[in-house]
Structures are given as structure tokens and as C-alpha cells.
Amino acid sequence: MSLRAAVSVRRGTLDLQLDVEVADGEVLAVLGPNGAGKSTLLRVLAGLLLPDSGVVVVDGATWDDDGTHLPASRRSLGMVFQDALLFPHLSVADNVAFGLRTRGTGRTAARAAADDRLARVGLEGMGGRRPAELSGGQAQRAALARALVGEPALLLLDEPLSALDARTRLTVRAELRRHLAEFRGSTVLVTHDPVDAMALADRVVVVEDGRVVQAGTPHEVARCPRTDYVARLGGLALLPGTGEGRTVRVENGGVVAVAEEARGPVFAAIRPESVALYLSRPDGSPRNVWPVTLAGATPHGATVRCDLSGEVPLVADVTATAFAELGLTPGAPAWAVVKASEVTVYER
């Protein structure tokens, strides 16, 4: 079971051109800001939207091609939407059995398969309830059961966790991870939350303005972002520049000292926890020391995330206590210090 798709769609201001491939049992996360075209890609894969041109091949069967368009109802797929979208007029079990019934399974067999699948997502004995009687997490589990019960070749997840509250999201995410590990078909997960992508996906493609801007494992993408959008998701400061040996000359001015030899066009990425803040210029060795001003500060767990402007724009995480001791207010000057060994350098 595998997916190969090359899709081109123009809708108003959206100009989408994406190539994706997903192998057997693999989970591909499509990560990107709102309006990047992620959901449009899913609608094309599902057969709900006719692409202007493109190819969708699943398991060797052509779903979309020049002159070919298999309607959604004849594709072997399961889809989970942001809001669970359980049919309100059917019981939970009938919702799960729906896809089996439309594909010709008898009432009794479909009901038994639905009950079995509900038990596997932890909703044993809840089949008789109405969707309105379920909590958000339960509804999303039922929606997952409904999508998986027909053992589809392709599973499409459209922001499946973003409608849940933070605590529920954590447990449902862990369960989803377990179900995805068992699922033998290909999975495409659309999300704007990097945590979902990191936790659930084997591979990530980052989509901005309808194009893939970066692809790789979640770890690669998180460690070496190629666009500001991805860098900001992880809080990284992404500095494009030119390698000149043990230094990188940043495009907008400023020089960053690095631990390893670097040549040519490179990115220097600095994690917010690597940045230390001082009120006066610290004495010292071969370190990066820059004058900065505080542009903004937001609480971030036990730390305060500080946006710093200067010749080298940075993000710094400092503990709430340290932040209070520094007594920084927006516009206040400070000194930022980063060890050369804490700067990640990679080719552009």
C-alpha cells in the first residue's frame, strides 16, 4: 500500500503544486501555516476536489490522472476531520458501521465489526450513544474508528487534534500514535502544530504558499529549519549567511562565531535556551556577544520567551526569576551571549 501524488490546483489566490510519496505503513505529516494549501491537498487525495491537473496513484491503482477521476465514494480511504463530524442522527455504532454498510457488508457483520473497532479505540459499550453524548476526545476516537473500520489503503487526517483541549489532545495524540503504528496503509496527516508532526510522523513536508519548502524526518526539520516559519515553530532564530571559516557573516549584518568550519551559503540556527542575557557586557573568551534590545516577551511554561532585536535577531528563553531580576522592559538594552558550540550550521 503506497501513495504517489503530484497535484496542481489553482483556486483564487492559492496556487498549489505538490508532489508527495508515502510508503507502506508510513505516516507523512504535511506541516504548514493556514492557507498554505494543506487541506486542499487532502481534498484532492480524497476525491472531494477535482485537481486542475495531477496524478494520484494508490497501491498501483490510478485515482486521478488526465481523464480519470475516481469519485470519493469509490476510493479505499478513511478520513478524519478537525471536528469529528459524526452523523448526529445515527448512534455511535451506526456511525462506525456506516462505511461498511455502504460497501455492502450485512447489518449484523457491520455491527459486530463496529463494536470491535470501538473497543479498540477505548469506547467499549458506548456504541448505543448519540454523538452529542460523547466528549470531544471520545467523538474524535469514534471518528478514527469510523475511518479505520474498512481497513482502507489510505488514511487522511485533517487537523485531527486541533479542536481538542490541551489535556485531551495529549491522550488522544498518544492513542493515535499507537493506532497509526498498527495501520498498514499510507497515512497523510495535515497539521499546523509541529508537536503533532514530531510525535506522529515518520516524515514531514513543510508547505508554504502551495509549495514544499522542506522535507525530511521530524528531527531533521526541527533541527535544521529552512524557512522562518519552521524555525519560529520551534522558537529557533534562523540566520541565513555566508560561511567564512569559523565565522558566519549574517545576510543582514553581524557575524556569528561557530565551532565548526563553514564555507559558502549556510544557515546558522540558534535555540532560545542557548541564549543568555546580561545587563552589562560580560568579559570573555571566544564567544558571541551582541548588543540587543527587548522587542517583546511572552510567558512560555516556566520560562519567558524574549524576542530580541539587534544586528543579529534572536529569541531567548530565560527563567521567570531571571527575567524579573534583569528587570527588562520592552525597548530596554541588554547583551546576548551564545557559545559558538551552541550554534547549528548547515548548508543552504
Binding site: 480524497a46 476525491g47 465514494s73 452523523f87 462505511g99 455502504t102 460497501r103
Partner: protein, 259 residues
């Protein structure tokens, strides 16, 4: 509450309620029994109920699919189509009756062919009553069902498609159950309108006791001959209307209120 709103509002309520109160005050309650037992009354009532129900069924059969086309299709002629459907709403019923007569009458476009080919004549029959009522009442159903379809979340239809349901199965198993309260409300409106139909019926079907004389026709006739009888018949119609409203409110509107 500001007086410029309150005073007209109170006047409005009085304007709507007073005639009904007047009807009840003038009702000769002691004569109610004998009047209702009079020959022709039961006949007219039965004919009214049967023809209004048949007209509602016909409207459901044609009107629900028509509403679906208006709500879901993206065809160019949709605006024209909606205008066509709405015309009987604003058309004086008598004109509707005349139009039906010109098409389905013995010399009409379709009527002459029906007469020649099958020996069927429609005007001045119970069939004509049902057709006239359907013509006038169906738009109420169509408008109401179309509104319900537009308000329904179309994403559920996408979900059904991803679960292997073709468009017909989706309509039957997802769309229809979800707009059922809207269809019920439309059917009630349609039935009530058909029950009260006068103009198109008397023009196209005539006024023959037993075959085409419905309650509104009987009321109008009785008013000229025996006002007390007209009042009794009117109260009877009022009772039927109110009973339907109350019955259906509990049955459907009440359930629709539960999330």
C-alpha cells in the same frame, strides 16, 4: 420598552387576534352539534382533509427533490428556476386556477391530449382539487426545505462520500434525516395552505358537493344562505388548523429543539 414600538405592536396583536375572538363570540355554541351533523358538512370536511393530505404528499414527492436541486446544484439556470418556483407564492390563486384550466382543461394544451388519448378529463373533479391545491401549496414546502438544506452542514456529505456513499445513498441516509425537521415544518405549512385553498380550487375544480366542494368553498356559500352555518364551519376549520399546529409542535418542533 419605547412607546413607538410598543403601541404598534399591541395594535398588531389586536388586529390579528380580534377577528378570531369575534368568531368565537358569535358562535352559536348550542347549535354546534346539529349544524355539524347537517348533510354535506362531514362530506366537505372529509374531502378537505383528504385532498390537502394528497396535495402535501404530491408536494413532498416533487418538492423535496426540487429543493435539493435548488440548494445543491451550481447550474446556471438556478436563479430562473427559483423564480419559477416562487411565482405561485405571489400569484393570485384565481389566476393560478385560470392557468391550470388553460393547460389541463378539455381544450387545454395537455388536457385535450389527455382527453383524446385516454378519455381523461381533469377539471371539476376531485383530482382537479388536489392539483389546484398542490400548485398553490408546493412552493411553501420547497422554500422551507431549501432553507433547511442550505443551513445543513454540507461537510457531512463529504464525510459520507469518504465512507463509500454515492450521491443517492448520501441523500437518503445523511441529508434527508438531517433536514427532516425542516421537511416536517414545510409539510405542515404546505398542508395548512392546501386546506385553506379557495381561489384556484373554485376556478379550476368548481363547487360540486361531494366531489369538489371543500370546506372553504362550503363556508363561503353558507355565508350567503345561512350565516350561522358559516360560523360553525369556520370554527371547525379553525379547530382543525390549531389542532394540527399543536400536534406537530409537540411532535417535531419539540424534538428539533433537543440538540
Amino acid at each position: 420598552m419605547p412607546a413607538p414600538l410598543l403601541v404598534p405592536a399591541v395594535l398588531g396583536v389586536l388586529f390579528l387576534a380580534l377577528p378570531l375572538v369575534g368568531l368565537l363570540v358569535r358562535t352559536p355554541w348550542s347549535q354546534l352539534g346539529p349544524q355539524l351533523a347537517a348533510p354535506g358538512v362531514g362530506q366537505a370536511l372529509r374531502l378537505s382533509l383528504v385532498s390537502a393530505t394528497l396535495a402535501t404528499l404530491l408536494s413532498l414527492l416533487m418538492g423535496v427533490p426540487l429543493a435539493w436541486v435548488l440548494a445543491r446544484s451550481r447550474a446556471r439556470g438556478r436563479t430562473v428556476l427559483r423564480a419559477l418556483v416562487t411565482v405561485p407564492l405571489v400569484l393570485p390563486p384565481v389566476v393560478g386556477g385560470v392557468a391550470l384550466f388553460l393547460v389541463l382543461g378539455r381544450q387545454g394544451l395537455v388536457g385535450s391530449w389527455l382527453d383524446d388519448a385516454f378519455g381523461i378529463t381533469i377539471p371539476f373533479s376531485t383530482t382537479a382539487v388536489v392539483i389546484a391545491e398542490t400548485f398553490v401549496a408546493m412552493p411553501f414546502l420547497v422554500i422551507s426545505v431549501e432553507g433547511a438544506l442550505r443551513a445543513a452542514d454540507a461537510r457531512f456529505e463529504d464525510v459520507a462520500a469518504t465512507l463509500g456513499a454515492g450521491r443517492w445513498t448520501t441523500f437518503r441516509r445523511v441529508t434527508l434525516p438531517m433536514v427532516a425537521p425542516g421537511i416536517a415544518a414545510g409539510a405542515v405549512l404546505c398542508w395548512a395552505r392546501a386546506l385553506g385553498e379557495f381561489g384556484a380550487t373554485i376556478t379550476f375544480a368548481g363547487n360540486f358537493p361531494g366531489t369538489t366542494q371543500t370546506m372553504p368553498l362550503a363556508v363561503y356559500l353558507a355565508l350567503q344562505r345561512d350565516p350561522d352555518a358559516a360560523i360553525v364551519l369556520s370554527v371547525l376549520l379553525l379547530g382543525v388548523s390549531l389542532a394540527t399546529l399543536l400536534l406537530l409542535r409537540d411532535r417535531w418542533l419539540g424534538r428539533a429543539g433537543v440538540p
